[in-house]
Subunit: 287 residues, 2 copies
C-alpha cells in the first residue's frame, strides 16, 4: 500500500469541493501554490474561464488532471433528446482530450426530467437500456480519440434523478458487455461515498482490476447524514473505512490519484484555503 | 396477478403511517370501520396501550397482523450490549406470538451508536458479523415458539445507523446461511422503498421464492426526495414501478397482504382518516 504520509503528490482536488468559494482559475492557482499536482474540474467551471485558457493555466503550473467531470445523462424523453445527449457527450470527450484528462467520468443519468421533479417516464429498465446504448455510442467516439470513459456508480439514493447505475457490480457488468476485451477504454470511477455501504464492494474492486479502475474519489459518510446531496463529510469525519478500501484498490492495481470530492454546504461555507489545507492534512493522515 | 381493484381485503396498514395522528387503539378502530382487515403495529405503540389490551382489541375486530415491527438492532459496543439485544429480541418474538403475527420483522441494526451520532466503532464487517450471530441466536428461540423472522434489507442510505443489510441479495445470502433447509422460519420483508432501485431486484425476488417472502411493504419514492427518513411518498406519487414488483412477488408465490408503510412528515400532518382513505384508494388503483 502506498505511503501517503510523506507528501501529497497523490492528492487530487475535485474542483466541486471549493466551487462556491472560487472560480476555476483561482482554484488552480490556490492548488498549485500548495503543491497539489492534480485536479478534476467540472465542465461548467471550465466553460466559465474558457477551455483554452484552462488548458494553458494547467500547463503553466505543470498540473495534471485525475479526471474530467462529466459526461453522461444519456436517457431522454424522446429521440431528439437522446441525440442531443450523444452530441453533448462527444463535446465532453473532446474537452477532456484538450485538457489531457486520463478519463472522462460518466454520471450516466436516470429518469429524464426527474431532476426537475417531473419524470417523463418511470421505467428503470428503459433508462438503463438508454444508458447502455449511450455509453456504447460514446465509447465508439472515445476510442477514436483515445479518451477512456469511467462509469461512476452513484449511491442508490440518487437512482431516480442522477444515475441508474448504482453498484460497482452493475457498472462492471456494463463494462464487460461493452468492452469485453478490457481495452482500457472503459472502466469505473470508484467514489467511496457511493459504494462504501456495499457488501460486495471489495469483491467487485478485485473483479475490476487495474484495467477497469480509472479513478478513485474520497470523502466521508457522516452519521447521521442530513441531506441526500450536499452533506458529504471530510475524510476522517465519518464512518467510511478509507484505508481498507484504498488497500483493496491498490492491491487490484490502481496506481492513480486519490481525488477529494466533497459536496457539502458546511465545507462550502468555510474559507477555500482552509478547505484545501484540511484536504492535504487528511490525505496524509486518514486516506 | 391478484386483482386489488374490487375490494381492499389484501390491504394492511403499518401503523407508523398514522402514528403522529392516533394512538394504536384508535388506529385499530379507524382501520376496522373502513373494512381494513390487517395492520402491522410497532412495539412502542403496543406498549403504550398494553399487549393484552391490543390482543383483545384485534380479536374483537377480527383483525389480523401482516407482521410485527420490530426486532433487530443486534450490534453493540460490548458483550453486555449484545446480550441485552438478544434478550430484547426474545421479548419481541414473544409479543409477536401473543399478537398472532405471521412474522417478526427485523431491522437488523448497524454501527452501534451511529443513530445517536456517535458510532462506537466503524467496521461494517464487524456489524455484519454481529447481525448474523444475533439472527442465528434469535432464530433458535423463534423456531421453538414458531415465530418466523423476516429480515428487512434497508436502503443503503440507512446503512450506517439502521441496518447493515442493504440488498435483497445480501438478506437472502443470510437466509441461506442460517436456514439452509428453507424451513419457512427465516425469510425477508420486501419493502419497495428500500429495494426499488436495485438492478437485481426481480432476480432476487425469484430466488427468494414463496418460503422466503414473508412480507411485502408498499409506498413510493418521490423525485426529488427531501429527507433520508421521513419523506416517503404515497403509492402513485413517485417513481416506483409498483405493479411490476408486485407481479414478480406473486409469480414467486407471495400470497400475503400489501402493507402500506409511509414515514412522511407531509402525510403525518394530514388528518388520519384522509390518510387511510387515500391508502384504500391507491391500493385499489396503483398498487
Amino acid at each position: 500500500m502506498r505511503d501517503l504520509s510523506k507528501d501529497h503528490g497523490l492528492l487530487s482536488i475535485n474542483t466541486a469541493t471549493v466551487r462556491k468559494q472560487w472560480r476555476l482559475d483561482t482554484i488552480i492557482d490556490e492548488c498549485a501554490r500548495r503543491g497539489i499536482r492534480a485536479i478534476s474540474p467540472w465542465r461548467d467551471q471550465v466553460a466559465e474561464i474558457g477551455l483554452e485558457a484552462v488548458a494553458r493555466r494547467l500547463r503553466d503550473h505543470d498540473m495534471a488532471l485525475s479526471g474530467y467531470c462529466r459526461g453522461g445523462f444519456f436517457p431522454a424523453a424522446d429521440a431528439a433528446g437522446l441525440r442531443a445527449a450523444l452530441e453533448d457527450n462527444r463535446r465532453a470527450v473532446d474537452e477532456a482530450r484538450t485538457l489531457d484528462a486520463p478519463c472522462l467520468v460518466l454520471v450516466v443519468g436516470s429518469l429524464p426530467g426527474a431532476l426537475q421533479g417531473a419524470p417523463a417516464y418511470t421505467g428503470m429498465a428503459r433508462a438503463r437500456a438508454e444508458v447502455r446504448d449511450g455509453i456504447a455510442a460514446t465509447l465508439e467516439y472515445a476510442r477514436a480519440v483515445g479518451m477512456p470513459l469511467a462509469i461512476e456508480p452513484l449511491h442508490p439514493m440518487q437512482a431516480a434523478e442522477r444515475a441508474c447505475v448504482n453498484t460497482l457490480e452493475q457498472a462492471l457488468d456494463l463494462c464487460d458487455e461493452l468492452d469485453p476485451g478490457r481495452t482500457g477504454m472503459l472502466g469505473v470511477a470508484v467514489d467511496v461515498y457511493h459504494v462504501w455501504w456495499d457488501p460486495k464492494l471489495h469483491a467487485q474492486i478485485r473483479r475490476a482490476g487495474r484495467d477497469r479502475l480509472l479513478a478513485y474519489h474520497v470523502c466521508d459518510w457522516l452519521a447521521p447524514t442530513k441531506d441526500l446531496l450536499n452533506d458529504r463529510g471530510m475524510m476522517g469525519d465519518g464512518v467510511i473505512e478509507l484505508r481498507a478500501i484504498r488497500r483493496e484498490m491498490e492491491s487490484a492495481g490502481y496506481a492513480g490519484y486519490c481525488e477529494v470530492e466533497i459536496f457539502s454546504d458546511a465545507w462550502w461555507a468555510r474559507a477555500g484555503g482552509e478547505v484545501l489545507d484540511t484536504c492535504i492534512q487528511r490525505h496524509s493522515s486518514v486516506v
